[in-house]
């Protein structure tokens, strides 16, 4: 997989930013380096597919705090952490909070590239997922209230006859509703419909749910 994307580098050490930028640029990435959090925040563009390579110990705001802030602000940017010291508790915390990787300086190019690619991969997946969810919601939104009711029952695994009895209509009517739901949701099988319903229910990708749980 040769996913090229934008990489944000944030480290208080300008020389390191410069070195890493050289390395990543040579690998064909689009690299933006920063030495201060504020500069990065100003330059960040959410629409670009990207990831953040972040030094844990920044003077004014440390890496983990920035990670938290971004998450709270709803910015979904995969983060690869760099640290000067092999601090295990900190790395556990970072990974739990969704970090792609936690690398110790000096960082080998292979490790960095692997992590960066993984991050971009995750960013791409994230973007795909967001697009998919958006169309799913759009389709779901095109259902009539009656169709949405029928869909809930279908997904819950009820038979047409049971649904008709519950809603007080004829079985045939339910059948029509059901086929219209299948058509509007653009699914072929019941299984597909159930998966679409689950995803709508969840509303968020799996890892994002975990992060959310973590912070509640």
């Amino acid at each position: 997989m040769n996913t090229k994307g934008t990489i944000y580098l944030l480290d208080d050490e300008p020389k390191l930013v410069k070195a890493l930028a050289r390395l990543l640029t040579a690998e064909g990435f689009n690299v933006h380096g920063f030495t201060a959090v504020t500069a990065f925040l100003e330059a960040y563009r959410a629409e670009l597919l990207g990831c953040l390579v972040l030094d844990v110990s920044m003077p004014e705001l440390n890496g983990l705090e920035l990670q938290q802030r971004l998450a709270q602000a709803g910015v979904f940017l995969p983060i690869v952490f760099l640290t000067g010291r092999g601090d295990i508790p900190m790395s556990v915390q970072a990974i739990k909070a969704g970090a792609v990787d936690f690398l110790t300086k000096p960082v080998k190019d292979a490790d960095l590239l692997r992590a960066v690619r993984a991050a971009l991969q995750r960013a791409a997946e994230q973007r795909d997922h967001i697009i998919e969810m958006a169309s799913l919601r759009q389709r779901h939104a095109s259902l009539t209230p009656r169709e949405r009711e029928v869909m809930e029952h279908v997904v819950a695994g009820r038979l047409n006859k049971q649904i008709a009895a519950d809603l007080g209509t004829g079985e045939q009517t339910i059948k029509v509703h059901r086929s219209r739901v299948m058509e509007k949701m653009r699914v072929i099988s019941l299984a597909d419909l159930v998966r679409a319903a689950e995803r709508l229910e969840a509303g968020k990708p799996k890892w994002e749910n975990e992060t959310a749980n973590e912070h509640e």
Binding site: K15, A19, A26, G84, R85, D109
Partner: protein, 740 residues
């Protein structure tokens, strides 16, 4: 009764009276032969005068002849006694002349020894009475004259020559009045008396003898001489009394005893002061034995031999004796006497003085003891001490100084009494000896009164061991100025001082290692950073080189960065190695600001990870201090880390350290303030060893910091801040900068 009967007895009386006077003078305590002799001539002339009168009144030839015999003898007696008088009175004259003259005058006397005196008259035919003026009569004889009688006058002439010669000699010796008056009178007497008598004897004149009348000349002359003597003596007596009084006064004032010892009579005359001195009673008769008894038994033998010696050989006797007083007290008396001798050299008397010298001796003894004591004290002092005068010349040294000079041979040999200390220092200083130069400056400044004190330690190794000396210079408390220089061997002290120093260094080193291990994470990061940059740059370069075409410009930039980062890593290691180094204290001029910056470099990543912000307020001139960079860095690191620890409970953005330097009264002050948890109530406890708030701390940090600062002649103390937190102050003496 006629005038003759008055005149002759008067002359006789005059002669006797004057004779008696002279006899009285001549027979005083000290007999004078001259006066006695003169008295003799006077008596002889008196007898002669009686015979003259008797002859004038002779009434028979036989009677006349008998008187003639006796008057001849008297005449000879007059001549002989006169000669003897001149001999004694003048002390001059030729002996042979006197003897021959007297012999010649005596020789015709043989003629008078027979039953009939034949010297003048061979035969008397008769006597006749001659009348002279005033109706007075006298008797003369007639007969055959014997001209052998002229032999007598030959003798008289010789005696006359003898007297003239003696007078001339006396005149030449300067005794002019006596020679002229007395000598002249005698010569006239002999001339007139002799001529007249000769003319009577030879019958040329028919008069009685008039010798006694001519003798009146001599009486007048001697009377004048005597009256002069008397006047002189009166004056002398007055003078003597005055001088005696003065002397007595002076003698009394100083309790001087005067004494005279008449050796012959063995009798002492001694003044009341003298008697009091020796413990004699007022009227006691003092002789040699009594004198000896007064002296302390142990001194008697010395006195005996000293007296004997001075009587025999010396003229002056000078000794001190212990005198035992009747009440048992002992005093020390100095006796000085001068021996007087007669013309034969026999000691006749000793005159002298005596004085009580007990107090004098006591005072002398005290001075001597005090001098001895001072000398002993000086000699007992082990330091080498020299006293310099205002010009730097050594005027005294103690034994230790001499021993040291001897023990150290050539170089210091020149530093003895009389040599100039400054010159010696100057000589060595010119040869490049820095110690000598500093010593020279120090001694000079104290000599010139510019400083009250100078002290310097210096190494002075012997061939076998390392030695240290301390030279101290203090002003000599004397009007003439000068200084006391002392050199002390402080090797033992210095060694223990060096031991303490090395222990302190050891401890400081240990503390640095502890601190560095505390900082190890931060330092690893410090080292990691450049390594990370190098690695990434190098790997980027590999990629750039692999491209076609390779981006060489970028690779060149990368290499520049790699080099600079490598240097940075090297610096970190260098800093760390310096802190870990087990070095001796090396004092050098330092700008404290640089030391602080260096310390901050070491902790910078620690500060970042702890979220601590450091504010710096540095004195613009950057005054310098003399110090060991590493040790001072250690102190600052310690204070900074302590400050960080104190603020660990503060929120991240509320961790602030302020480091300020300023110059105050010649001291460079550094204040490290934090806003942390502050100090315990007993502030000084933080400087005690093994006091710690950290679970893994040794509790030595601040205690060592204080030792280090003290070793730099500085102070380290802590104060609680008004609001919160604490401030640690370091104060170090600034180097006096010489501005050109």
């Amino acid at each position: 009764m006629n005038w003759i009967m008055f005149i002759w007895p008067m002359v006789t009386a005059a002669c006797v009276t004057i004779g008696l006077i002279h006899l009285r003078i001549g027979l005083r305590r000290t007999p004078e032969a001259a006066h006695v002799m003169f008295a003799l001539t006077a008596f002889v002339v008196a007898a002669f005068s009686c015979l003259e009168l008797a002859m004038i009144r002779a009434d028979s030839a036989a009677h006349y002849l008998e008187l003639q015999r006796w008057i001849d003898f008297a005449g000879v007696a007059v001549v002989v006694s006169m000669t003897a008088f001149v001999w004694v009175f003048f002390g001059t004259g030729r002996k042979w002349l006197a003897l021959v003259g007297c012999g010649l005058a005596l020789s015709p006397m043989i003629l008078n020894l027979g039953p009939e005196p034949k010297m003048i008259f061979l035969q008397i035919t008769g006597i006749k009475t001659v009348e002279t003026f005033g109706g007075a009569t006298y008797t003369v004889a007639e007969g055959t004259r014997n001209l052998w009688s002229l032999l007598f006058y030959g003798g008289v002439v010789l005696i006359l020559v003898f007297v003239a010669d003696a007078s001339a000699t006396l005149w030449r010796r300067g005794v002019r009045r006596r020679s002229a008056l007395v000598g002249g009178a005698i010569i006239f007497f002999l001339l007139l008396g002799g001529t007249h008598s000769a003319m009577v004897d030879t019958g040329i004149l028919t008069t009685p003898y008039l010798v006694s009348f001519f003798y009146l000349l001599i009486l007048v002359a001697m009377g004048m001489e005597l009256s002069d003597d008397v006047l002189h003596a009166t004056q002398l007596a007055t003078d003597l009394r005055e001088s005696d009084e003065r002397l007595s006064l002076a003698a009394e004032a100083v309790h001087l005893g005067l004494w005279v010892w008449e050796i012959g009579r063995d009798e002492f005359w001694i003044t009341p002061e003298g008697r009091a001195l020796f413990g004699f009673s007022a009227d006691e008769r003092i002789n040699r034995d009594r004198f000896f008894k007064a002296v302390h038994p142990e001194d008697r033998e010395t006195m005996q031999s000293a007296v004997t010696k001075s009587l025999l050989e010396d003229d002056v006797h000078e000794r001190e004796y212990r005198v035992v007083l009747p009440d048992g007290r002992t005093r020390r008396v100095a006796v000085r006497g001068r021996v007087e001798r007669d013309h034969s050299g026999t000691a006749v008397r000793v005159r002298g003085v005596a004085i009580d010298v007990s107090e004098h001796r006591l005072a002398e003894e005290k001075i001597r003891e005090s001098e001895e004591f001072n000398r002993t004290v000086l000699a007992s002092i082990r330091s080498q001490i020299a006293i310099l005068d205002r010009a730097g010349t050594i005027i005294a040294v103690n034994d230790a100084w001499n021993h040291f000079a001897l023990a150290n041979g050539g170089v210091t040999k020149a530093v003895g009494v009389g040599s100039n200390y400054l010159d010696v220092c100057h000589c060595s200083a010119s040869a490049g000896d820095a110690t000598a130069r500093r010593s020279l400056e120090g001694v000079r400044s104290v000599l010139d009164g510019e400083s009250e004190f100078f002290e310097m330690e210096y190494p002075c190794d012997s061939p076998t061991e390392a030695r240290w000396f301390l030279v101290r210079v203090v002003p000599l408390k004397a009007a003439a100025g000068g200084v006391v220089v002392s050199h002390s061997d402080i090797t033992r002290l210095k060694r223990s001082e060096l031991d303490v120093q090395s222990q302190r260094e050891e401890l400081a080193h240990l503390s640095r290692i502890t601190m560095l291990s505390e900082l190890s994470g931060s330092l690893a990061h410090e080292l990691n950073q450049p390594l990370a940059i190098i690695l990434s740059n190098a790997q980027a370069a590999q990629r750039l080189m692999a491209q076609e075409p390779p981006d060489l410009a970028e690779v060149r930039d990368i290499l520049v960065d790699i080099v600079s980062e490598d240097e940075r890593a090297g610096e970190v290691i260098h800093r760390m190695r310096a802190m870990l180094k087990h070095g001796e204290t090396k004092l050098q001029p330092l700008v404290l600001r640089e030391v602080i910056e260096e310390a901050l470099h070491l902790v910078s990543s620690d500060l970042i990870s702890r979220g601590v912000i450091v504010d710096r307020t540095f004195h613009p001139d950057g005054p310098r201090v003399l110090g060991d960079a590493i040790q001072l860095q250690q102190v600052l690191l310690n204070l900074i880390l302590n400050a960080c620890d104190a603020m660990s409970a503060n929120p991240r953005l509320d961790r602030r350290i302020t480091i300020a330097t300023e110059l105050r009264n010649g001291m460079v002050c550094v204040a490290v303030s934090d806003s942390g948890c502050g100090l315990p109530s007993e502030v000084e406890r933080v400087f005690e060893p093994f006091q710690t708030t950290k679970p893994d701390g040794l509790g030595l940090g601040l205690s060592i910091c204080r030792t280090i600062v003290s070793a730099h002649q500085g102070r380290l103390w802590a104060e609680g801040n008004a609001a919160r937190g604490a401030t640690f102050h370091i104060e170090l003496p600034a180097i006096k900068e010489v501005h050109s």
